[in-house]
Symmetry: C2
Subunit: 592 residues, 2 copies
């Protein structure tokens, strides 16, 4: 496979696994090695490696990389956990759900993968993490995710049981490394991939998935709408260590020949089951868009901008009937419950412009999403709620507050929001602003926006730009929420910066390659990587260098311990005078 021919390991990093309460519970982290601190006297003090949350899966494990074969898929690490719960059964895959045969020339064949029959809940059983959590059971999945978060597994269980968090993990996606979406945990990000009718191949999409998780995407949504939807998804799922979400309506519409009026509940239901058997971890379902809300969008500047929303609105108007996703929502819950598919209640009426933010249509749909949340919980189905979109900064907080109130704290999952519409080509930035803020206010997962938003399908470069912008937003939110793991990362970077450990600064960056490349542009030589300045200010004007000289002076006096010195403090004055003399004698330089 060309996409894995070149491994993409992080510099100075190694995969480390923390073993849980059972030997097959191995939780991956990335450990970033740091060089030692060398103080002014030449004393060497080691710096402990920084252990960071790792979404990248086996692809960044040097010991596993050679064994990866995309046509075989990743190891099904959850299989023993699922099977030993003894509440599932295998069965032959549903009829009429065979993979769409590829008609286009495509570099990836229609692959059968391991001949693993699908699992579903045995009759009368519920197999969702919410079900187990409510029963007081801490599953291996919960423990795995708890270790990743550095949080007590019982807290994880409680958050899931209360509906405040979800652990999306279809029993047919055993390759998954379990993770949590909930406001008590690290803010997560989702990367959308998927071909459109106009562009891109299966190989492109698998490559984008591996690429997106390499940079930190916590989940992937496969939004393919063109040919080969089934096969693209199969390849992605079998190779994805992260939860995969879809909008099943897109495939249903393909089956309906692209005509919303040809959609039906039965067609949609069969699509749900097809995707459930493949292992999709969460479904976006636009069940809150009701017939009576459609007129509320008519005076909007940008109408309905959700693809799923516009399709269902078209269906509703065509038949003048209520949205079949709403009228059949209990059946959707039954399916979701049988495979442990989380429902992501779509905001089909989200605003598509600053002008339409927080309007009546959006809020009306949100009320219905609250109703559906309670209904899903009756079936022990895990639920999160999707949110906008395009929102000016002063209207962001109320989106979270209202959602949390109406939906009883079910996790919020927002697209951006973009805080202005005037910068197409830079919407990863317009939306990272909103995403950081809404994450701080309590949104559990942020759906990324790439620089191509509104202009075209993102390529690999755009996926990376989008993921990094959203890692920044999520991390900034974690910091603002006071997450100790987040703070530790920043502190490690700041310490490396103050100590001129340039290599460590690169290694600690979200994008080590770019950090190094930028530094190399001016100062590529190896000695520059320990120099006490950079090309920005040059050696004479480096504030940190001067600051070290000052610190060296004052550190040995009593000053360092004084938090509120005053000019009257003669002890300090004396100390400073002495130090002033020493400083001058030393040529005002500690590092020469």
């Amino acid at each position: 496979m060309s996409i894995l021919s070149t491994p993409s390991f992080f510099p100075a990093s190694r995969k480390r696994y923390v073993t849980g309460s059972r030997p097959d519970l191995l939780v991956p982290f990335r450990e970033i090695m740091l060089s030692p601190t060398v103080d002014q006297q030449g004393r060497v003090t080691p710096n402990a490696p920084l252990q960071v949350y790792d979404t990248s899966g086996p692809y960044t494990d040097e010991t596993l990389f050679e064994t990866i074969d995309l046509s075989k898929g990743l190891a099904p690490l959850r299989s023993p956990w699922i099977l030993e719960r003894n509440d599932t059964e295998t069965y032959g895959a549903s009829k009429n759900l065979a993979p769409t045969k590829s008609k286009a020339a495509n570099p990836l064949p229609v692959q059968e993968f391991e001949n693993r029959p699908p699992l579903r809940a045995r009759r009368g059983k519920r197999v969702t993490q919410l079900h187990y959590a409510r029963k007081g059971i801490i599953t291996p999945e919960m423990e795995f995710a708890a270790i990743r978060e550095g949080i007590n597994p019982e807290v994880v269980r409680q958050e899931i049981a209360s509906g405040r968090a979800i652990l999306p993990a279809n029993i047919n996606h055993p390759e998954l490394e379990p993770m949590l979406i909930g406001k008590q945990f690290l803010v997560k990000i989702n990367a959308n991939i998927g071909n459109s009718a106009v562009l891109s191949s299966i190989e492109d999409e698998v490559e984008k998935m591996v690429w997106a998780i390499r940079w930190g995407a916590d989940t992937i949504m496969d939004l393919s709408t063109g040919k080969n939807i089934h096969t693209t998804r199969e390849w992605i799922l079998r190779n994805a260590p992260v939860p995969v979400g879809t909008v099943p309506l897109y495939q249903a519409l393909e089956k309906a020949g692209g005509q919303p009026e040809n959609l039906s509940w039965e067609l949609y239901r069969d699509t749900l089951i097809e995707q459930a058997e493949q292992g999709v971890d969460y479904f976006t379902v636009h069940a809150g868009l009701l017939l009576r809300y459609i007129p509320l969008t008519m005076n909007r500047v940008t109408g309905i901008v959700s693809r799923g929303g516009s399709i269902m609105a078209s269906w509703c108007l065509t038949y003048h009937q209520e949205n079949f996703l709403y009228t059949h929502f209990r059946e959707i819950c039954e399916i979701a419950s049988a495979y442990d598919i989380s429902l992501s209640l779509g905001d089909g009426l989200r605003p598509g412009s600053i002008a339409d933010a927080n309007d009546a249509a959006q809020m009306a749909e949100l009320e219905t999403l609250g109703e559906l949340t309670k209904m899903a919980w009756e079936y022990d189905v895990q639920v999160m709620i999707e949110g906008p979109g395009h929102v000016p900064m002063h209207k962001i907080k109320e989106n979270v507050d209202i959602q949390q109130d109406i939906c009883q704290e079910a996790p919020f999952y927002t697209l951006g929001p973009l805080t202005t519409d005037i910068a197409p080509g830079y919407d990863h930035i317009t939306s990272a602003i909103g995403a950081a803020m809404i994450g701080w206010f309590g949104t559990a997962m942020l759906c990324y926006v790439t620089p191509k938003e509104h202009l075209g399908l993102p390529n690999k470069h755009d996926v990376k730009e989008g993921v990094i912008a959203y890692k920044i937003a999520a991390h900034a939110a974690d910091l603002a929420k006071g997450h100790p793991l987040a703070q530790a990362w920043d502190d490690a970077m700041s310490k490396a910066r103050f100590e001129f450990r340039w290599h460590d600064q690169f290694h600690l960056s979200l994008d080590p390659e770019r950090a190094r490349d930028y530094h190399d542009e001016a100062l590529p030589a190896e000695p520059a990587k320990t120099a006490h300045f950079c090309s920005m200010c040059g050696p004479k004007f480096c504030s940190m260098k001067i600051s070290h000289e000052l610190k060296g002076m004052v550190d040995n006096s009593q000053l360092a311990d004084k938090s509120t010195p005053s000019p009257e403090d003669s002890l300090i004055e004396t100390g400073l005078s002495q130090k002033a003399e020493e400083f001058k004698r030393s040529g005002s330089k500690m590092y020469t």
Copy 2:
């Protein structure tokens, strides 16, 4: 000049001048031409051009471009206004302040420009905009800036008189197009340029200036620290239609051989006068960093990170004396008052990391900046206050609140702030998040951060990335503050988007070239520029296309006027049923 050999006009835009109360008061705007709306019936409705604030100067005026000669400088449009106030005098430039002769080979000669002797206030006169404003005088500069902002000139005068806004405009910078920095006005952005001892030439810096204002920088700071400081600044000033700020300490330190202990008040004062005579519009002065505050930085993670702050701290410790910028602050004010130089009170103790945000050192200095603000106002000197830096989101607002309280609402001018430290290479994004928020909270001007921050000196590409990220932040803040001009821009974009006017979307973007290039990547053909879809979703899944079809149905019924329709409303039901039939009969397509 190579840097102007290729004009860089915006597509579909023209420079338009609004004439004020006198014929020589010509206020530039950029007018973006829009194509007409064509509705479903083929009716054509023109869209009025969008007039936007324009910082780019004559360089984007097609009628003036050919006449620009960088070696002559721009036309001195303010000269008549300054001279007719009859409160200034010319004099021979101060001795010992001759330009540093360039020793390095440099493509730009030491240029004499127009032989224009410097101006200063006549004895006993004050020539600052604050002085005039307090006298009740609306100067041409105030009127010019008021027209740019779309605000009554008397409001501008009041804001300046109260100290809540400044209009930085040295009487020796007549090329300036006056602008305002104050929270009642559009949020402004500053771009730092300037060579370092390690990199870049005069030509590079002039090119960066023209480039930065082309993309929307409202002011420029020339932070040169290497050779040719005087000459670089002269070239920039004579060709800059925006205010130019400096940190005079940098040049003073060059004169002191790079040794802080060789600095003196006299050396610094002479540097102020040299730069005042050249026309620098605002000086960053680190006068609030007092000797007694230095120990407060000793336990910081990143010490002192302001270049000026670290230099002055070094001087203070060397001599164990109070900061000479503080002890001589009244003399600084006298100089500033004689040339109308605004003072930007530097935050030498700003935090350099998330860990150090809002600490005692920062707040102690801010108290002193409040004291200095009042002192400057005694001399009718215009003042703004510099702020951090590195601040997690939850600590941003209090920065503005405390500054506004302590400094009696003098304009706040912040660097970012960066909301996390872990993404070197992307600090335009980490800081655009903080900048947008702090702008919304009341900061008047945002100093940009480029992707190279912490890694190296920005090149032309980095300058553009930084400026655009900050235009986004400033504009998002304007929107959140409810500025009608900001909202009009977003609304024009959203309307163009919903109407599939792709060309207009490109033209309305902050970066028309990139928007078009991204769209071209997938769909370069001209018909795609009016197509009712893009490569992101393809034709079948375009929500806006479907939304139009829905809108077409409902628009002709009574539904559009109903804001709270209910399912019980039989009139609506009937309308919907009829429309459903029409929709099906039309093949569910309005656009084919």
